[in-house]
């Protein structure tokens, strides 16, 4: 089996597990989780220099899921990558569990780099981490995955300006551009387009890709660190609810919980039979 086939298989399995978890635990944000699965798989199983046995190593790459409402996807991928036993995820959403609708702090779950959930925080935090790495003489890279709705937040653009001014080459933004935010088309709410040009105009080494093409994701983040000091921005065009025909590009799945029958149908489409 080729590496790509393996990664694609993991992405299908993750999607199935996320959908099952949503049904089992009544967790929303399914559409937002499914749109970033391919990026999570590419990062955690190919790109990031991380070792789950030493999750706080000073030299590790950092990945921040700034769109914290995708936590259900992150929790599954961290479990699959070995940061904790996957059986721990059986506690998802239970009283006293750390698996909430948004990521906890790094002190409370291995593999987590920042407690996100309030949008617009992950990029400034990641920028601080990348600058710390430079001060300390490390060469780790910091990746922050943002949603397009999150790009409404002024703090994102404050960080974009400052990262360019400081030439923080080891910082990479990935925007999960699924064209929806909670209650409407992101273009209609805040006129985001042309998004890649905005990042470029802010002084970033920006490109756009198909955010479901795992090879393209891996190739695009390899632009970081740039040779000229610019931070890297990858605008990933994605489909909300990707992978399940009746969820794709339907914003009802921002909050809807799938029924048992819909879970079975999803798994069939994903060809996952566990």
């Amino acid at each position: 089996m080729s590496k790509l086939t393996e990664l694609q298989g993991r992405a299908r399995l993750l999607r199935a597990r996320i959908i099952e978890n949503s049904h089992k635990t009544n967790t929303p944000h399914l559409g937002s989780c499914l749109s970033c699965v391919d990026m999570l798989v590419a990062m955690y199983f190919s790109v990031l220099r991380i070792d789950p046995s030493t999750p706080r190593s000073a030299t590790r790459d950092r990945f921040i899921l700034s769109k914290g409402h995708g936590a259900a996807a992150l929790f599954q991928v961290l479990g699959m990558r070995g940061f904790y036993p996957e059986a721990m995820l059986d506690d998802y959403g239970k009283d006293g569990s750390v698996f909430a609708e948004h990521p906890p702090t790094p002190d409370h779950l291995p593999g987590i780099e920042a407690a996100t959930g309030s949008l617009g925080h992950g990029l400034p935090l990641g920028l601080g981490m990348a600058m710390a790495g430079r001060i300390q003489g490390h060469d780790f890279k910091v990746y922050a995955l943002l949603s397009d709705g999150e790009c409404n937040e002024g703090s994102v653009w404050e960080a974009a300006l400052f990262a360019a001014a400081q030439r923080v080459a080891h910082l990479c933004v990935m925007v999960d551009f699924n064209k929806w935010q909670a209650t409407g088309r992101s273009e209609e709410v805040m006129a985001l387009s042309p998004l890649v040009d905005k990042w470029r105009a802010f002084g970033w080494n920006a490109c756009e890709i198909d955010g479901h093409d795992i090879e393209a994701i891996i190739d695009s983040v390899a632009r970081c660190p740039s040779s000229d000091g610019r931070p890297t921005a990858v605008i990933a065009h994605t489909v909300k609810g990707k992978g399940v025909s009746f969820m794709e590009d339907d914003n009802n799945w921002h909050y809807r919980i799938p029924t048992a029958a819909e879970v079975a149908l999803s798994k069939k489409e994903l060809e996952v039979f566990e």
Binding site: T105, P124, L125, G128, M129, I135, S155, Q166
Partner: protein, 307 residues
């Protein structure tokens, strides 16, 4: 106070390679000596305080000791959510310094006043809130803050504040410093209003009132040990701060009082539930809010007689 801050921080940065200074586009030339030590540890973060706070927390999560510096409203209320989530929720050791606190910049108008900062930051879990009264206390507070393992807020004045401490006192976060012992009333004060409080104590002495004067530089954690002991010593406490009477030192002491059956009565000196719409110097603004030695002495004297 800001020059002493720059001087002390420069010394601390020499001692500790983890110390990083982030400024919100103020302090032109103030930090030249700091920059001379290591230019990679000074950043002008521009007029973008939300980002600055997040950057500081990110640095702290990687083991550095960032200190953030700008005018108080912009490093507190402007980026409150970043303080709450990035610094406090992560328990990141970020030192937030607000300069020109209280009514230091009275003549710049209410956009530059800070009469709510201690109240709102005190609500955040894990946040320490310090209000040193002079340069000596400020240096000690900064040094102590950098040894804490979580977020600390320090509100400082501007420049030219008189020295209060004749020698370097023992300083501990959460422990007040008795500046003058007394038996009739405890004047509990925080921050740069202290010279007025000293004068008030002198005025009271002329009327035969023995006032104990305490610097409560640590508004959170509060020195409850001192206050508990005060229950049997005093019938009256006065809290004095260049800050609103809601939620600051006066509010903190009132919360403590709620748990004590035998607590002394409290008079609270601070600004009221209002903005200052007219122009005025710091002295004018203090007088407007009753923060003068004569007003403090008069009100305290009257309250003692009423008891």
């Amino acid at each position: 106070m800001r020059n002493a801050f720059a001087d002390e921080l420069t010394s601390l940065a020499k001692e500790d390679g983890r110390v990083v200074l982030l400024s919100g586009d103020i302090g032109n030339k103030l930090f030249d000596k700091f920059k001379a030590i290591d230019a990679r540890r000074f950043y002008n973060c521009g007029v973008a305080e939300a980002n600055m706070m997040g950057v500081a927390a990110g640095m702290a999560l990687c083991g550095l000791r960032p200190v953030i510096y700008t005018i108080t409203p912009f490093t507190t209320t402007r980026c409150f959510e970043q303080i709450r989530v990035d610094a406090c929720y992560h328990n990141a050791p970020v030192v937030i310094v607000g300069t020109g606190s209280g009514l230091s910049y009275a003549d710049l108008g209410p956009t530059h006043h800070s009469l709510e900062d201690m109240a709102i930051l005190r609500t955040l879990p894990g946040m320490r809130v310090l209000a040193p009264c002079d340069n000596t206390e400020m240096r000690l507070a900064l040094r102590a803050a950098l040894h804490e393992d979580g977020p600390v807020y320090i509100r400082i004045g501007k420049k030219g504040e008189p020295d209060i401490h004749p020698k370097v006192p023992e300083f501990r976060i959460g422990k007040g410093i008795v500046l003058r012992a007394g038996t009739d009333i405890a004047l509990i004060a925080a921050g740069t209003i202290m010279p007025e409080v000293l004068k008030a104590a002198d005025l009271l002495a002329k009327h035969g009132v023995s006032a104990e004067l305490v610097s409560f530089h640590s508004v959170k954690p509060l020195d409850c040990e001192y206050l508990d002991r005060a229950c049997s010593r005093f019938k009256l406490l006065a809290t004095i701060e260049e800050h609103g009477r809601i939620g600051g030192l006066g509010g903190a002491v009132a919360e403590w009082r709620a748990s004590r059956r035998d607590a002394p009565l409290q008079i609270s000196f601070g600004s009221g539930d209002e903005f200052m719409y007219e122009v005025g110097t710091q002295e004018y603004a203090r007088a407007k809010f009753g923060l003068t030695a004569s007003n403090i002495a008069e009100k305290v004297h009257a309250a003692l007689r009423a008891n």
